[in-house]
Amino acid sequence: MTFVNYSARELNVKIVYYGPGLGGKTTNLRHVYARAPTRQKGRLISLATQTERTLFFDFLPLNLGTLRGFQVRFHLYTVPGQVFYAASRRLILKGVDGLVFVADSNPLRLDANAESWADLGRNLAGYGLRRDRVPTVIQYNKRDLEGAVPVDGLRRCLGSPGVPEFEAVAAEGRGVFETLKGVARLVLSNLAQRTPGR
């Protein structure tokens, strides 16, 4: 749920990075955090286990500057990818404005990608949302892996959803900002179309 404060002239948007465990969701956020200027970012909060696996979520607030006189703030969240954290994943999706699905190019994770994509659809349905109605981009991560599944194969494994796609090596920062810009474009365009009164 986007929050528009006409008094403070602020626009707040919630973006959630979703995908299978160890697919690179937290790595995306860490790269954004590392690259963003200090004045434009808040603290990167990670609610993680002792082995740095995401337990509840990672959270990174980004202050992107002004758009038509409005301060645009993006709140980036990741969900825990591990199967048994299903309840936490569902909670983080509450009020989501845009989604980045981080798919793993490792051939051994094809089933995990498909399962996570299906899980996303179920969890959105729990909030009365249809996956094809929420602005979504897909990031095919770990493209540098030897034996990486061709993009076409990954696309088919997700049922060829027909959303914007980005190839990435998040650990090196490749494709991270392209993905974020892609989802930002979708979310802001979508918001313009559905603002009440329009």
Binding site: M1, F3, K14, F56, F59, L67, G69, F70, G197
Partner: protein, 166 residues
Amino acid sequence: MSLREGVPQLVVFEEEHRDLRQILARIHSHSRARAVLLLDVNGQLVAKWGDTSGLDVTSFCSLAASNIAATASMARLVGEKDFTILFHQGKRDSIHISLIGDRVILAVIFGAEASLGMVRLRVRRAGAEIEAVLRRILSRMRLDDRLDVDPLCDITDQDIDELFRF
């Protein structure tokens, strides 16, 4: 009607924002709290009052909202709809968090000079006032033609690139 019903986003105008701040100011002075924050259930700050110096407000709001969401899930597991009040007691400061109208969260941060009983009393009294303002916001969101002055109309790729200059 539920306050969450039928409105996809929350839009706050100057008048209601001022009213909400006044309510927070009253809680702050009457309960002798350090700071009072109002956020939406997704963790976006709506209004605040008091001393928030040294507090990472954005992170605080995100974690408070997650706290409420996680607790509501636990409530459902034991057959409750939700737990509308959370209280965390620290050595120096304590936090009282309450869910109001299923749409916003009121967080009061207070120290030893305030009492939990007084905070609870003031929060309970303010809850109805905040709900009334929220209902006004929601009805205006359905009617107000100022929303036609949309900051996002005709957004271009160049606009997006400008936002990500780093």
